[in-house]
Symmetry: C2
Subunit: 191 residues, 2 copies
């Protein structure tokens, strides 16, 4: 299902645009290079995101805020404590949703570009070389995390995209594949 | 499950706090008036939120950004198009998750207070007096919405809280009931 209307925006919809949307009913544009570039910028620029997981007791969606970085391949990574509710949720069901593209304090957050990414969570073993590499990348982006990154209950979790819905503002809705999100100098998505 | 660790924060955890958390394992504080007041402020101040819904095809969580206002009783309300993916999702399963407490452009979003609210969505009939009242409240808070509020595919949706997890920063995690969220001059939650 993933995909927004691209419609619920502050910009004035021209009469012709409105007519086109009413006729089409599915306001999704064909994915082009500009959409791919915007999508990559949103992921690369996201120091934080909203993470949606499934409550393991009820199956209902629960949204919390997480910090974000990219691994060497451009895949989003977060650092979470085993004590956190979303860690327990991801252990029970690795399917999650990310929202990237935080609006600043100014302007209209509904006209600010944002992207809903469907992801699968993969917990990284604390003992392995992968953890050490991610620790280095993480501390470059989140220097204050040095205060807790080495606590035994914190683990890195890769969030592998399986699809995304980009909303760049009115009339600018796109669906993207993991390949669309793949950066020129790396990749996002399955290996 | 709803509840965050209150732990993943930029403030330096004192050694005694860390020891207390390791012993307790469940870093949730007893709910007090200060927590209730902070929770109400977060809801009242939220012009926007991240909304988590269930993909009707796969059951996976999907997070998007929505605009928010409060009804006369203090219950969060959003305005969404039938064309939006989250509208179709809520029609299939009204259980949703809200994240309120958007950080500004400055500072550390993980130390900024935020709250995960479990909600049930109730769509408001466009033809009724309830719609007209909400339309007035909505336009006070979101004046630009006058451009699309009267389009036939837009509807108000009440998001009735069933519980919440407040994260006010390190060591400040609380679980709240709909009654805790009830404002002095109104209410949030079931009637």
């Amino acid at each position: 299902m993933i995909g927004g209307a691209g419609y619920h925006s502050g910009r004035i919809p021209a009469r012709s645009e409105r007519a086109a949307m009413t006729e089409r009913r599915d306001p999704i544009n064909p994915t082009d290079d500009a959409a791919r570039a915007l999508a990559r910028d949103l992921v690369a620029g996201a120091r934080f995101a909203a993470l949606g997981v499934l409550d393991p007791e009820t199956g209902a969606p629960v949204v919390s805020r997480v910090a974000l970085a990219l691994d060497e391949g451009g895949c989003p990574v977060t650092l979470i404590s085993d004590l956190a509710a979303h860690a327990r949720a991801l252990a029970a069901d690795p399917r999650a949703g990310l929202l990237v593209g935080e609006p600043g304090a100014k302007g209209d957050p509904l006209t600010h570009p944002r992207m809903s990414i469907a992801v699968l969570a993969e917990t990284v073993d604390r003992g392995g070389p992968d953890h050490a590499r991610l620790r280095g990348l993480w501390l470059k982006r989140h220097p204050k995390a040095k205060l807790y990154v080495d606590f035994g209950d914190f683990r890195f979790v890769r969030l592998r995209p399986t699809g995304a819905a980009l909303n760049g503002g009115f009339g600018r809705a796109y669906r993207l594949t993991p390949e669309d999100l793949a950066a020129r100098d790396g990749r996002i998505g399955p290996p």
